[in-house]
Symmetry: none
Subunit: 709 residues, 2 copies
């Protein structure tokens, strides 16, 4: 990107240097061309008359970005809102029917016509009332819709002052000239004026400042605002340029206006190139630049000055550009780029340190495709996650679609589709770019015997193998079932494979969303987990019981239990069978489960991150997205969430070393024993039985309500 | 259909043959199951105690039909009339909550209990007075209402005479024994007695006949009727059976009664199985059968005999039957009743005081069909709300479906469908029972002039009228737009019309969900709102600033502002609200908006309910669902919600008396001024301008973060 100023070359021979400007780079996105295609096809057809369009520019891009004038799909809607913090520009589209007409178009004439409009706005005063009239552009296009090739030439007319603009004082950054107080005052004054005017940005404005105050006003208030002849006149321009030494293109026409209206009695004027970025969450305008120029005289009746502004092409010459969208005009590709764009907006403006790639590339296994599974999948899609796999063995019933947002009435007909398969299909319908799969399978459960016959035993073995393979092939395992015991097997497998587990469970108006403790990698395991190092655990019990607990010491869903999971569905009445909960609950818990995962992924230590508790809400958050709690327990009746933290339990029926060792040594044979036995098998194995005996006379805190919420 | 008589097998070895009986076939029609479903949902809930029901049988079926005991929808109404020419039977329904309970039910015990009742009626004589007491049946059911499968086992208890009943004379048809005159006389006598007794049918009756006459009488008249010891005793039974050789089941208990009461002095008795059909328009009873039996002796103090009567299943074994009505029900009806079931389940065990009707019948207007609108609609569907109307003027773009859970990729093609219309269509696809509508229209906004031309002005007038009509026609107005200023007009109209307003707005990782203060009904307004009664307001400032504030004193979305709407970009967290927010946020806020509405509806004072604050979390909640806050402000980075409460502001640009008065007096003319003017118009009107001047030097508490989140 080179700075330039077509008519104001810096003369080698003496005198003050002349001001130079950085021109706009046109940024016409795929959505713009797509919309042009639609307009051409459905509306313009053979009509070649000029069309009003609109673009916008932004003053907060990171250094190194070109000063862009952006046109997107909304460019054709003159009532479309300008994006926040952006400044609108009004354009004229000349879309020709043929490449010949495009080439032979009289570009000099188009430029003159546009320049005349700007000049009229300056001389009539309408530009003072509505400065956007100075932000005018031309777009000449030919759309080859058969081949999806778009030829275009962009022009942002700038009126020229024949002698150039002498630079009296070189640009310095605002931070070097203004105190912190002044900077803040400027920022506030600018914001207030925007808000008062109902504008997303002020393209041009007036400034006067003193040591302790900064005032800004609109162009039309010039006379009142600068009524004191001793007051220094500063013109603010919303500046899309990033160069420290040069202003962007929009400054040109406002300086012509200033020279025309006020140049005669204003020998010099200061210019603030207002630049406004957010870095690491903090707003910053101190890189704005300030400099002083001499305003040339413009004869009142001189007629419209000469203008420049046709954009150079990629090769640096004066000529049109061409984009070939034949590939990305595929609507599916278009959908993908739109979804990407939306996500990137988060980074660009709000959370620059967000590592989107970590989120988008994560492979998620959703065990359960009911109310929770559907909400989790939807939120994952919103985050751009591309690999989503469902496991469920249920069919869609008539009561599901109103609470399970991936299903419709039609899915219930004829006995109901498989939830897992239908959910995957639906994701593809929502966003063809997703890679979704469904597995219609059962998850074997403790206390649900599989030894009725060779057939049932073999089926269970297959299901276990399938589940192991699925857990292997994914990064994050979501436990979203509606029974406790169905969570046991995946909890064991995922713990053994060191996969991040996100667990969500609903009560009637309460929920728990938690990450399971993530065991240390096997080679690091030697004796320092709280499970087999009682003294470390005892230390923790000392001063700060539940603070600074790293991920590998955290409990799993079963760690709070003192009974092994068993068959909880047998003999339950209807209201117990279907998890009766307030309808909003699953959406809230599902959304939180994904947001928790995303926050964990943003932490440099991922699942090993120290757990945040409710007390940490006042502290500096550990990630750009905030806290990484162990558990979120929600109480809808109080609209309240708490963030408990709990340690892994060395007698846990799912994640304790004895269970994991047995599983890793004996595999399915061990699991089959668990499926076929009453809960006492696991209780004996883990030592829970002993614990029960020891505490038989004592009062045990009944956590059954907690377990099931 | 085979005849049988469990205990009275025909012995091959000598002696007279024993009488055999044809059992009832239970005939439970769809109406019965439908009614059972309703009873279970609305009345029985988890109550498993026995219920009285009734059935009936008919003695006029064509040959070949089984002897049916029919239960239809009227079975639950003990006062329902018995169908003409039918005989009632009284039953006991045992409806279990689980399939387990159904299976494990002690059927032997149930049968014994029923047999004992019959025996008591026999021995006490009540059955002589009211012979229907002998027609007793048991129905054991389990209704799987999620899958529309009904498990049942029917029993018609018959007391057994241990030795069986010797058949002295084989059955012959009445036509072979009676003359035409006798047949006609029997028919007339039977009809007259029915009429005299006001009965549709006589289950059992006494007959004596001679060559030229036939007399019938009631059981209770036995002694008088058969006072002549030489008179042949004939017992008539209304017989549902068609077999020429066998009587139906009802004969069994009456014979036990006869044996018990009169067996000792009646060695033999004649039986008339009264069958009464209409063939080709002519009534015919000549196929009734007559036969003679020996009445066994029954010891007076022998205790209740053994009983039989459980029905065999379709396979001929002793086991329950199952009907699957999911296929034969209209799937749309099925969906509706399934959705109802899910909701009613909440009431049964969890929140018995929940007034579902208040929720289900509420009419909701959703202004905005984007991320928030879609989530709100989904949650409303979950709550069973049937009337949902969308207003939006946007089209579905490619980036929408992954975040707006009512749209799919296909909706984006060809420029995109209208959101409002597509959202309504989707709701119908999810649940055909919903009444959803979409209005593709713009909402005029302050600072967005409408006076460009007559056309634009007329359009704005139409839009306002349309919006007013829509707000009139709904109960709750959801403000779910993505700009501040578009909320102004509906906020004003809804405040004027005293409609409950639920407002939701998103930042990047923060949200506000609130109810607007609900003004008192107009006739109660005289001078006691905080707006026009500064002293009341001052009182509040005294001790308990934000506690016990009733709904009518609460602020609206604009009450915290000290500038009129017209801009929504001051703070970075509020720009591009719906596009650049954490994807889970809209689901959470949308769900909470609906849950807040539901909680408010459950409060006896509705929108006038005192606002709960964060401090109330420890107190007894005001509704069965918990708190009814004014605002829920959520902070996703901390997984935290707070519940602020704020008062209505007497200079509010939306809900203050001056604005409402002007709107109510001038209507569109006032609104047009607001649309066309800069914000100062509203500020001047409400006195905000004055406030600004008064406080110009003072520090104003900057509530911008609050206002916009």
């Amino acid at each position: 990107m080179t700075s330039e100023g077509n008519e104001t070359r810096n003369p080698a021979e003496g005198g003050p240097p002349k001001l130079q400007f950085v021109p706009f780079s046109s940024a016409l996105d795929a959505g713009f061309w797509h919309e042009l295609t639609q307009k051409k096809l459905n509306e313009y057809k053979l009509d070649e008359t000029p069309k009003a369009i609109r673009g916008y520019y932004y003053n907060g891009d990171p250094a190194g970005m070109p000063a862009r004038l952006t046109l997107e799909f909304s460019a054709f809607d003159m009532n479309a809102p300008t994006p926040a913090h952006c400044c609108p520009a009004i354009g004229t589209l000349y879309n020709t029917n043929t490449l010949e007409a495009f080439k032979s178009c009289d570009k000099k004439l188009l430029l003159e016509q546009a320049a005349n409009k700007i000049w009229d706005a300056i001389t009539s005063g309408t530009a003072v009332e509505n400065p956007v009239l100075l932000n005018r552009f031309i777009l000449l296009t030919f759309a080859d819709l058969k081949r999806y090739r778009f030829y275009y030439w962009f022009c942002y007319p700038a009126l020229c002052l024949p002698e150039g603009i002498p630079l009296i004082q070189q640009p310095v950054c605002l931070g070097a000239k203004f105190s912190a107080t002044q900077i803040e005052a400027l920022q506030n004054a600018y914001d207030e004026l925007c808000q008062k005017e109902g504008l997303t940005a002020l393209p041009f404005f007036l400034i006067k400042y003193h040591d302790d105050s900064v005032l800004v006003s609109l162009l039309r208030n010039w006379d009142d605002f600068f009524s004191d002849p001793k007051e220094k006149v500063t013109i603010g321009v919303y500046d899309p340029c990033n160069f420290a030494q040069y202003p962007g293109w929009p400054l040109r026409n406002i300086l012509v206006l200033a020279a025309h209206r006020w140049g005669s009695h204003l020998p010099s004027v200061q210019v603030l190139c207002f630049r406004d970025r957010t870095m690491q969450g903090a707003r910053d305008i101190s890189h704005s630049t300030l400099f002083e120029i001499k305003l040339p005289q413009v004869t009142q009746n001189s007629g419209c000055p000469k203008a420049v502004g046709w954009e150079k092409n990629q090769k640096g010459g004066m000529g049109p550009r061409m984009v070939n969208l034949s590939e990305c005009m595929d609507p599916k590709r278009l959908a993908e780029s739109s979804v990407d764009l939306n996500l990137k907006l988060m980074c660009w403006r709000l959370v620059p340190t967000l590592d989107l790639e970590k989120v988008v590339s994560v492979k998620c296994l959703l065990l359960g495709a009911g109310t929770l599974g559907c909400s989790v999948a939807r939120t994952l899609m919103g985050w751009g996650v591309r690999k989503i796999t469902f496991v469920d063995n249920a069919k869609i019933s008539y009561s599901n679609p109103v609470r399970q947002p991936l299903y419709e009435f039609e899915d219930c007909l004829g006995g109901g589709k498989s939830k897992a398969l239908a959910a995957a299909d639906r994701l593809q319908k929502i966003f063809p770019g997703v890679n979704a799969e469904g597995f219609n399978m059962s998850i074997p459960m403790p206390g649900h015997p599989v030894n009725f016959s060779d057939v049932t035993l073999e089926q269970a073995r297959k299901d276990v193998t399938q589940l192991e393979e699925l857990i292997d092939a994914h990064d994050v395992i979501f436990l979203l079932m509606d029974t406790r015991e169905s969570r046991w097997l995946p909890a064991v497998i995922a713990a053994s494979k060191r996969k991040l587990v996100i667990n969500a469970a609903l009560g009637f108006d309460t929920f728990v969303v938690m990450r399971h403790g993530l065991k240390k990698p096997k080679h690091q395991e030697v004796g320092d987990s709280p499970c087999n190092n009682p003294s470390a655990s005892a230390d923790l019990l000392g001063s700060s019981l539940f603070s600074n607990i790293p991920g590998y010491k955290l409990g799993c869903y079963f760690c709070n239990d003192v009974v092994a999971p068993g068959d909880s569905t047998r003999d339950r009445t209807l209201d117990q069978q279907c998890t009766v909960s307030r309808p909003g609950l699953a959406m809230i818990a599902g959304a939180l489960a994904v947001e928790l995962m995303v926050s964990i992924l943003q932490h440099p230590e991922g699942g090993y991150a120290i757990a945040s508790s409710s007390d940490d809400r006042m502290n500096e958050p550990p990630t750009s997205l905030g806290l990484v709690p162990h558990q979120i327990r929600g109480f809808l009746s109080r609209f309240d969430n708490v963030l408990p933290v709990s340690l892994a339990f060395d007698k846990c029926t799912a994640c304790s070393p004895r269970v994991l060792e047995q599983y890793e040594r004996e595999g399915f044979n061990f699991l089959a024993k668990v499926f076929n036995s009453s809960h006492s098998f696991l209780e004996d194995l883990t030592g829970l039985t002993l614990l029960h005996q020891e505490t038989q006379a004592a009062e045990i805190w009944d956590m059954s309500d907690d377990e099931t919420l």
